[in-house]
């Protein structure tokens, strides 16, 4: 392994009502890491899901061992940003993977992230739906149009140097993520966008790996007028302040 490449990878999995998906994601993660021989730990940050996600996580802890599955729940829903901060406190890896626990991000891409990281000694490797073999499944034309339009607008206004700003499947060097978490204040889609924008500002390097995004298999996926309005607000805020 390269000197500054990943020794151990900590996966942060913030969950809220993911009882059905969580075991499957964990199983896929464990399989992927064991196949590729990468040292790992999975940190589950459950925000008091009423559906019993925490109990499922406890069972997973028993199955895979408490050195591999770290359950670090919180009492109630406190948001994604603070979930990462909370999870990171317990992370022992020098690299952190953040991903959704709803199966839209397949763990099979993590070894590719790590390869890409080593290739260019990147600080961040971001999954991208908009390049190469990347793509989406389960989106209709309208959803695709909004996504492409929003992405184009973002590229023109912010020139961020990365093709997928709103994606949330990424590998971070731990100290880089810590530093970014101090700076980023946005919520939702804008949060992921701000992470990349600030990263570029601070001079961190970003590599990209095409990923396929399979929209939620179980449970509802949402993109309403509210999301679009708050995305635009966030975009303009970043445009005016960064």
């Amino acid at each position: 392994m390269a000197a500054r490449g990943p020794g151990r990878v900590s996966v942060l999995l913030p969950t809220y009502n993911e009882r059905d998906n969580l075991p499957l994601v964990v199983w896929l993660l464990v399989r992927t890491f064991r196949h590729s021989g990468i040292d790992f730990e999975i940190i589950i940050i459950d925000d008091g899901s009423p559906d019993g996600t925490k109990e499922v996580a406890q069972q997973l802890e028993k199955i895979y061992g408490s050195d591999k599955i770290l359950l670090r729940p919180r009492a109630r829903k406190l948001g994604l940003g603070t979930a990462y901060i909370h999870g990171m406190k317990y992370a022992t890896g020098n690299f952190i993977v953040i991903m959704d626990a709803d199966l839209s991000h397949h763990p099979k891409f993590i070894p590719e992230f790590i390869r890409k990281q080593q290739e260019g000694n990147f600080d961040i490797v971001s999954g991208t739906r908009y390049k190469g073999n990347g793509g989406v499944y389960g989106w209709d034309l309208k959803r695709k149009l909004i996504s492409r339009g929003a992405n184009f607008l973002t590229q023109v206004l912010l020139r961020p140097g990365a093709s997928d700003l709103t994606g949330s499947f990424r590998l971070y060097r731990k100290e880089v993520l810590e530093k970014l978490m101090e700076k980023c204040v946005s919520k939702g889609y804008v949060f992921q966008m701000e992470m990349i924008v600030r990263a570029r500002q601070l001079g961190f390097t970003v590599g990209e790996v095409p990923i396929s995004f399979v929209d939620r298999v179980y449970g509802e996926s949402k993109l309403g007028g509210n999301e679009i309005v708050s995305f635009l607000k966030g975009l303009l805020t970043l445009f005016a302040t960064t």
Binding site: R4, R19, D20, P23, L24, W27, L28, V56, Q59, L60, I63, L103, H106, G120, N121, F122, D123, Y130, K131, N133, G134, G135, V136, Y137, G138, W139, K144, L145, S147, R148, G149, N151, F152, Q155, V156, L157, L158, R159, G161, A162, S163, K179, R200, Q201, L202, G203, F204, T205, V206, G207, E208, S212, F213, V214, V217, Y218, L238, F239, A240, T242
Partner: protein, 148 residues
Amino acid sequence: MPHPAPPAGGARCRLSSELQLPSSPARGAAVTAHLGTGRGAAPAPGAAPSQAAMTKLAQWLCALALLGSAWAALALAPPGLQPPAPLRRALLPLPVYLLVAFGCYSLATVGYRLATFNDCEEAAAELQEHIRAARADLRRRGLRLGDQ
């Protein structure tokens, strides 16, 4: 900081080439603003370059002001200093042309990318297969799964 490489435009950042900038006012804005802030000059990572750099909004305003005043100076010059008539006839509607060109470029780009957005059918099928395998294995290990 352990990463002394240039932040943007460096050999390691093949991404910047990916940015397709519009060939119109926006492009002028981008280029001018980029040079203006000297971001290519690699501020030391972590040395809070954000304090020195202009915001994107300021970059746009700067570039627009530059281009706008250049245009106004040429287009609205007093009769004695005016450029030759044919040039002037082309100059007057130039901002509108550029705006229309940028609009066309945007529509074409978004349209093309929309049309070529990959549908990951295989990825979805593979995921279903993996889910079946995961369920079977987890049951074997004694995990109680939902009824789905």
